[in-house]
């Protein structure tokens, strides 16, 4: 009996499979990073690898650790939103590679509202959400009515938004550099409320964005798995025609999905730029990586909204850790390399799960692919 139980443990708990698969991805990614460090300079590889993994722990003073943990959390919040955007769309059968562009649109909207129109934070936040949602709706509508592949239309929109936002935000550029003005200098009222979190962490950019991101994860989880709308959306994603046959509005659902996904990514941009942590560089020639990292976080988190919190944190932890490297010896892009390998490995997750299901079972292929919830 005991052995029987052991055998089916992996099969009975799909989330365990997901966790295991994600850990395998992470380990392989880290391994490749470590090998790269060894090849570049074997002498400092161990130390460098540890500093990537440790990130804020590499500081000795507790205050400094806390402050740097705060920084990591500040940049985690936007990533959580982008990964929510990607996974929400993916659950409905759409690949939202446009999270990057929706993020850009959100950034443009909230910064323009904050710096040019001097509006309060809540309006800026809403503007960012709307801008992202609008972009999502465009892709969704093109998919629903004109059969345009959402991946392609999203890629086009990513680049259009990048150039558009660069042009628009050039009007609120700080003349001394290539960045937009800081919110603190022009419109402190647009900075998200801090409700004491900044003092707690000793990090001035710590705002309600961080707890809000967690709340949004729960909201999305409930929406997807506990509501009728979520059920309809997922049904549309699984089989559009069957959903339509059952009386669901497949086109509307598709557009709504992309709208929500876009809104989430736009909100992520507001979390980033309305915390005044980063300014928009109007000369940037490529779409910010945040949206693409959202894809990584979504898949690494096993396409689960709660998992997205942990995977997003992990990704930003590693990215920040890359910044602690000795620049004269190693390039900080090592952490990008690790992330890229992790995303690549995420492509094999389905295979790994199949392997786990067939390997330890009684030989009968499990039909459950381990798609939790």
């Amino acid at each position: 009996m005991q052995t029987d139980k052991e055998k089916s443990l992996l099969r009975r708990l799909p989330w365990l499979q997901t966790l295991l698969a994600s850990l395998v991805c992470i380990l392989l990614g880290l391994l490749v990073g470590y090998i790269a460090l060894l090849i570049i300079n074997p002498a400092g590889a161990n130390e460098a690898f540890l500093s990537i993994i440790k990130n804020f722990w590499s500081y000795s003073k507790p205050e400094k650790q806390l402050k740097n943990l705060g920084v990591t959390l500040v940049i985690t919040a936007p990533l959580v939103m982008c990964s929510l955007s990607v996974l929400f769309a993916y659950k409905v059968g759409l690949f939202n590679i446009g999270a990057a562009g929706q993020y850009v649109a959100g950034a443009g909207a909230c910064l323009y509202c904050a710096l040019a129109l001097k509006l309060p934070w809540i309006v800026c936040l809403l503007a960012a959400i709307l801008a992202g949602a609008l972009l999502g709706v465009i892709s969704g509508a093109m998919k629903a009515y004109r059969n345009v592949n959402e991946v392609i239309s999203c890629i086009m929109l990513n680049w259009i938004m990048l150039y558009l936002v660069n042009t628009v935000l050039a009007t609120v550029k700080n003349p001394t550099g290539k960045d937009t003005y800081t919110l603190a200098s022009r419109n402190p009222g647009a900075i998200l409320p801090t409700v004491g979190l900044n003092d707690l962490f000793g990090q001035k950019n710590m705002t309600i964005a961080v707890p809000l991101a967690v709340v949004m994860c729960v909201v999305i989880w409930v929406l997807l798995s506990k509501t009728r709308l979520g059920y309809e959306l997922r049904a549309t994603g699984l089989n559009r025609n069957a959903a339509r046959y059952c009386g669901m509005r497949d086109r509307f659902n598709m557009i709504l999905t992309m709208g929500i996904a876009g809104g989430l990514a736009g909100m992520g941009a507001a979390f980033m730029f309305l915390s005044d942590f980063e300014q928009w560089a109007v000369t940037q020639a490529s779409v910010p990586a945040m949206g693409f990292n959202g894809i990584a976080a979504a898949f690494l988190g096993g396409l689960n909204p709660i998992g997205a919190i942990f995977s997003s944190y992990f990704i930003q932890h590693i990215s920040r850790g890359g910044g602690h490297l000795n620049m004269n010896m190693y390039s900080p892009q090592i952490s990008d390399l690790i992330l890229a390998v992790i995303i690549y490995m995420c492509g094999f997750v389905l295979f790994m799960k199949k392997f786990m299901n067939t390997q330890r079972g009684t030989g009968k292929k499990s039909r459950k692919g381990g798609r939790d919830q």
């Binding site: 790269a36 590679i97 991946v151 086009m156 042009t167 990008d336 992330l339 690549y344 295979f351």
Partner: protein, 312 residues
């Protein structure tokens, strides 16, 4: 005007090569979003050869060796996609996205490490190839390079291979209905490998052509600035057909080069549009074209779907 034509032709060559590569991959049934990453790696392969070739090498060999190096690099890199998509039924869009990130990151890490190893004070991601680039040009002082002729030859070759050879027709069958192709004895896996590898070959060369367009040094941190994605748009605009891809590339090349040289035209300068408008233009056009013509899309029917023998 001459300048515009030069830039237009060089950008057309880049877009055409990469889009033709994507065309082969998609006709075999594999979506290749990773063209951007393939371009970066191909460019890296070519740039390394240009950097390390002795300066007295004959121009013919410079062209030959850089071309081969970039093709080989792109092809090897594309195997990452082929293995994942064909053997492991991975999500092709996800893997492609990962390859784009990986290409830029790996190239940057590699070049920085190489530069630092050669000169401890140098932490840039730049490769300089002033001398070798001269050999690539047909006439010095202009931008007309041998790659334009090569691109034209490859265009003709692509057309012939796809439509006039057994291999090409079989390849396309695998992208339309792999089960049917399999039933008449075509090895779908092998064909998909071939399609992806050809796309790596062409994409790699396209990357090399791109980094030698008008500049003699390249910072690999910058990647290839979205040209891989633009090439995807060209491919779709061209309806997955080589001859129409060539025309689409010409149009996109025109707009892309306008953003470089529009200040040289009085009437364009008088319009007073910001240069970003010209940058946006190709994307807006392709979006509009997609909107108008996607209803009856010519995309290969089975693209993006992992081949499963048991499926009907």
């Amino acid at each position: 005007m001459i300048l515009l034509v030069q830039y237009m032709l060089i950008f057309t060559a880049v877009l055409m090569l990469v889009a033709l590569g994507g065309c082969f991959s998609e006709h075999s049934g594999v979506i290749n979003i990773g063209l951007e990453g393939i371009m970066v790696i191909g460019a890296l392969g070519g740039a390394l050869v240009m950097k390390f070739l002795p300066p007295e090498t004959a121009p013919f060999f410079v062209v030959l060796l850089t071309t081969l190096a970039s093709m080989l690099a792109g092809m090897l890199y594309s195997l990452l996609l082929a293995v994942a998509a064909v053997n492991f039924s991975a999500d092709q869009t996800l893997v492609g996205t990962a390859m784009n990130l990986l290409g830029a990151a790996a190239a940057t890490v590699f070049v920085k490490a190489m530069n630092t190893a050669m000169d401890p004070g140098n932490v840039s991601s730049e490769i300089v190839y002033v001398h070798a680039r001269k050999a690539l040009l047909i006439a010095q002082g202009t931008e007309f390079s041998w790659f334009m002729i090569l691109a034209l030859l490859l265009l003709i070759a692509s057309y012939v291979i796809l439509y006039k050879t057994k291999f090409g027709l079989r390849l396309m069958a695998c992208g339309e209905h792999p089960q049917a192709a399999d039933s008449v004895g075509i090895n779908v896996r092998k064909m998909r490998y071939a399609g992806v590898m050809i796309s790596g070959l062409m994409g790699g060369l396209g990357g090399l052509v791109y980094i030698t367009a008008g500049v003699s040094a390249w910072k690999f941190e910058n990647g290839v600035a979205g040209f891989g994605f633009l090439a995807l748009a060209v491919m779709i605009f061209g309806g997955w057909k080589p001859h129409r891809i060539a025309l689409a590339a010409l149009l996109f090349g025109l707009f892309r080069s306008l953003s470089n040289v529009y200040t040289g035209f009085d009437f364009l300068r008088n319009l007073n549009l910001p240069s970003t408008v010209y940058n946006m233009m190709p994307y807006i056009i392709s979006l509009a074209v997609l909107f108008l013509f996607s209803k009856n899309s010519a995309a290969p029917k089975a693209e993006g779907i992992p081949y499963d023998k048991g499926m009907r």
